[in-house]
């Protein structure tokens, strides 16, 4: 795909700068379906986010997405993959960061860098049970407060705890 987003000069430049600045933290750079994802170690996440925002001009954290790797986790892989979607506007340059997290691990909160991470991290906590160190107010955001469990985990019963229909 010649017009794929990964071929854009701005994205290659940003990825090169990231790799040069954080050689120990950037584990891999993957291009899938024309979109670039930078795989990071858990510890470097906040440093990388701050660098992206303050020095490379990525002024928006658009979303935080969580994948539950239940099947591969049984074979020893990390349980969750957390994706951070950052953007640079108005040029509309988009980059994705991927961090692998185990079930009992705690991520650093991105709220001190991007305030838009607040509700996104609450959603990740509510739906998947991920915890974020340094989040100002880590409560459920969708489910009722007395709800038990994290419904988007793949081992959560599809029709709910009370049997659904």
């Amino acid at each position: 795909m010649p017009d794929a987003a990964s071929d854009r000069f701005e994205i290659r430049q940003a990825v090169d700068q990231l790799s040069a600045r954080f050689p120990g933290e950037v584990l891999a750079v993957a291009v899938e379906k024309g979109e670039t994802a930078v795989h990071l170690g858990k510890k470097g996440l906040i440093l990388v986010l701050r660098f992206l925002k303050e020095e490379l001009g990525f002024n928006a954290l658009e979303d935080i997405v969580v994948l539950d790797n239940l099947r591969t986790a049984a074979e020893g892989g990390p349980r969750f993959t957390v994706l951070y979607q950052v953007g640079r506007f108005p040029a509309a340059v988009r980059l994705r960061l991927a961090v692998a997290v185990g079930e009992d691990e705690i991520l650093d909160s991105a709220v001190p860098v991007y305030r838009s991470a607040d509700w996104a991290e609450r959603e990740a906590y509510d739906m998947f049970g991920l915890r974020f160190d340094g989040h100002p107010d880590l409560r459920r955001i969708y489910m009722p407060e007395d709800f038990e469990g994290h419904p988007l985990r793949k081992d959560f019963p599809l029709q709910g705890r009370d049997g659904g229909v």
């Binding site: 969708y142 489910m143 009722p144 709800f147 419904p151 959560f156 019963p157 599809l158 029709q159 709910g160 705890r161 009370d162 659904g164 229909v165």
Partner: protein, 167 residues
């Protein structure tokens, strides 16, 4: 009866018939539009279908002024306590109509977040199936409710306070 009054025309009726006749022709709905069913409920209230013909056009924004609870749409588990509280805030006598498959039994959402039927939290008088039901369907449900009210015995409640019909 005095001489004077006996010369006036008058009608005799059973109290039950008179009360239910008034009740069924002046239902004040409390519309809780929870999902797409609300659009059909609004259409039912508007000029084309016009439930003013049944004395029901007075949709109230407060449960305290309503006696018919139209549950129009998907009741999520998070919304369920609110629905129950609104129902409790409605004064007796009152009726509930479950509009659409979601309110009847969860509809296409057999999931962790959706209540599987509003009749788990409030007593439903009439169920109107559909996804969403047409305005004709809702009107049919309302007319069914009118028939049900006409068959009821409100004086029983006056004579026997323990015979209250609602929960």
């Amino acid at each position: 009866m005095t001489e004077d009054l006996s010369k006036q025309p008058f009608l005799l009726a059973r109290a039950d018939d008179l009360i239910t006749w008034a009740q069924k022709n002046s239902l004040w709905p409390f519309g809780s539009g929870l999902a797409c069913c609300a659009i059909e409920m609004i259409a039912t209230a508007a000029a084309r279908f016009d439930i003013a013909r049944f004395g029901m056009e007075l949709f109230r924004a407060s449960p305290r002024q309503a006696d018919l609870f139209i549950v129009a749409g998907t009741v999520t588990n998070k919304m369920a306590p609110v629905i129950r509280r609104l129902w409790d805030q409605m004064p007796d006598p009152k009726w509930a109509l479950a509009m659409g498959n979601c309110a009847i039994g969860g509809g296409p959402f057999p999931t962790y977040s959706v209540l599987q039927g509003v009749d788990k939290i409030i007593p439903v008088d009439v169920y109107v199936a559909g996804c969403p039901p047409t305005p004709q369907g809702l009107i049919h449900g309302l007319m069914t409710l009118q028939e049900k009210i006409a068959r009821s015995h409100p004086t029983k409640e006056i004579l026997d306070p323990h015979a209250r019909r609602s929960l």
